[in-house]
Amino acid sequence: MTAAFKQQTFRDDYTYQNSPQAIKRFPFPFGEDQYMYSVNIEPHTKGATGSVNEFAFDIDEHYLSECEDKRKTLALDPGRYQALPHMMDAQWDFLELTMESLAADYPKLFSLVKNGKHWEWENKPLGIKTAFIFGDATTLHMQPFEFMGRQVQGDFVLLDQREGTLFADAGFITSQADWSLAFNVGMAWHEWHGPVPQVTKLGVMDRALKYLMSLQLGSPVRRLNWTMTINPRLDTSPENYPLWGGDRNKVTPDNVGELVHLRVELQGLFRLPRSNGILFSIRCYLISMDELSTYTRWAKRFHRVLKSLHPDLVEYKGLTKFRQMTIDWLSRFDDGAPLESGTHPE
C-alpha cells in the first residue's frame, strides 16, 4: 500500500483527487431521495473488505497528504491541539487504541511491540520509530494524544463523562467543518450542540446523550454526517474563514464539477478503558462533483437530496451560495426515474 500513497495538497494549488478505487469506496451517505437529520448510529463492526468501515481507523491513499496537511495546520496554529490536565489517562487510552488497531489492521505499515510497559512503535509510511514507557509521558517527545493524533487520518475529540453529561475536554482538530476547538473545549454536550437546527425540539440530543453515556467498552458505534466544501480543503475552520469563505463566490456553472465537493464525515465513538471517557473520531472524505458523477446513481440521488433539503439545513451547512448551481449542474444526470433505496454506487 505504501507505493499507492499520494502526495497531494488540501490547500493553495489543491492537487487532491480521488483514484477510481477511492471513488468507488466513498462513503456516500444518501440511501433515500430526501435527507432528514437523524442520529443514524450503528455498531462500528468490521465492514466489507476494502470499505471505509473495514477497520476501526481507515488508512487510505491520502494518508501521507493528510498527515502533512495536519502538520502544516498545527504549525500555523498550535491551538488546534488542546488537552485539559485531567485528560491524561484518556490520552494514553487514545494512544493504545490507535496503535493496537493500526498495527493489527495494517501490519505492513505499522508495528507495535510490547514488553510490559516498554513499547516500541514503528510507522513506516511516516518514517517514525520510537521506544517509550506506556503511561510515562516524559518518555515521548510530545503528549501521547498529539503524538498519535498526527499519525491517524481524521480529527479526534476526547470526552470526559461526569455530572450526567459529556465534556469535550481534549481535541486534535485540523479538518473541521466550520467549528472551533478553541471555542468548544471544556463545553458540555448540550452547549456544543446548541446551534444545530431542528433537533432540540425533537429531543434528539437528549436521547443521543443518554445513548452515549451508556456506550460500552468493546462496542464502538459510528454514523455518517455530511456537508459541502468548495475546493478539497480539510481546514475549513472558523479561525481561517478568510482563507476559504470567499471561495463560495468563485463557483460558476462551468466549474461546479471541479470546485464543489461533497464532504462526508465518518464519525466513530469508542468507550475508553482507563479514563472511562469517550473518543469521538471524525474522518473526513472529500469528493468532487466530477468524481461523484462517475456513478450516475449517486449524481441522481444527490441531485434529489439537494433539491428537497430543508431551508434551515441549507443555511446551517452554509450551502446557500452554490446550492442552486449545483442542482442545475447535477440535473443533467437525473432522468426522474425512481431510484431504489441504498447508498451503493451502481
Binding site: 489517562d89 461526569r162 451508556s214 460500552q216 467498552l217 462496542s219 482507563r274 479514563s275
Partner: protein, 317 residues
Amino acid sequence: MSLLRVRVADVQQITPLIKQFTLVAADGTELPSFSGGSHIVVAMNVEGRIHRNPYSLMSAPEDRHAYKIAVRLQEKSRGGSVHMHTAVNVGAVLDITYPVNLFALDRRARKHILIAGGVGITPFMSQIADLQRMAANYELHYAYRAHKHGAFTEFIKSTSADQAHFYVENEGGVLDIRALLAKQPLGTHVYVCGPNSMVVSVLATARDLGWPDRHIHSEQFAAPPAGEPFRLKLAKSNIELVVPAELSMLEAIEAAGVDAPYLCRGGACGRCELDVISNDGVIMHHDHYLSDAEKAAGKKIMPCVSRARCDLLELNI
C-alpha cells in the same frame, strides 16, 4: 452486547460470607484495562436458568492478566450468590460483560473521600489503585460489623496505610459522617458505597453541609427481589410469558429470547428502562433511577430489579 469469556483461575474465602474469584481470559489473551469503580455482569446458569449479577472489579485497572471480583453470600439470594459460592470452582468458564463504570472518580477533584460499608468496599479497591497511580489526595473510611467481616483490610493497610481509616462496629468504632465531611477543603469529592442507610446518610449530610451535587457520588446496586409470579406481554415482540417468583423480569424477558438492553442490572443506570402499556395491578419499583413522580405515574419500569403484583403487565418491547 459484546461478552468476554473467562476462566476461574483462583477462588479464596476472604471472610465467612465473601469469596473472591480471580478470572482470566479463556483464550489466554489480555483482558481490557478499565477505570476504577467499574463492574462486570457475570452470567451464570442456575439449574437451566440464566442469572446475570453485577460485581465490582477489585483488581488494579492496569492488570490485564486477571480480573478479581468478590461475591457476598446473600441471605435472600435468588440463587446467584449461592451458585457462585457452591458451584463455581477453579477451572469454571463464565461469560462476563466488558467493564462498565457507573461510579467513576472525578479526575478534577482536589481531594477524594471514599466511604465504604461492608462489602461496599469492593468498588473502592480499583479506585484506590487508580488514585495511587495518579498520586491523588484521598482518604478511605471503611466501616464493617466485626473484625471477621472486614474484607481485604490487610491488603488495604499494606497499600494505603496513611490514607485508610477503619471503623469496627462491635468494637465501638463509629464513623462520624458529619464531622468527616465538615472538615474537608473546597474541591473535595465524596464517594459512598454500602448499605442503604449509610448511603442515604452520606448523601443527606453532604447536601446539608452545602456540598454541590456534582461532588457527591454513590453506588447502590439493588438485588432483584423475588416476588409473586405474573403474566407479562411484550407488545413489539408479540410474546406472552410468565415471570416466575425467583427470576427478575429482565431475566424472564431474556429467557424468552428477546434482546433487551441493560448495563448495571441493579436499578442504577437507567439503560433497561421500558414503557408500560398497561397493567392491572401494582408496579413494585425497586430501582434507584426513576424519580418518585415517575414511579407514581407507572408509565416506566426498570425490569432489572422491579416487578409487578398483578395478573398481566404489558410492556412496549
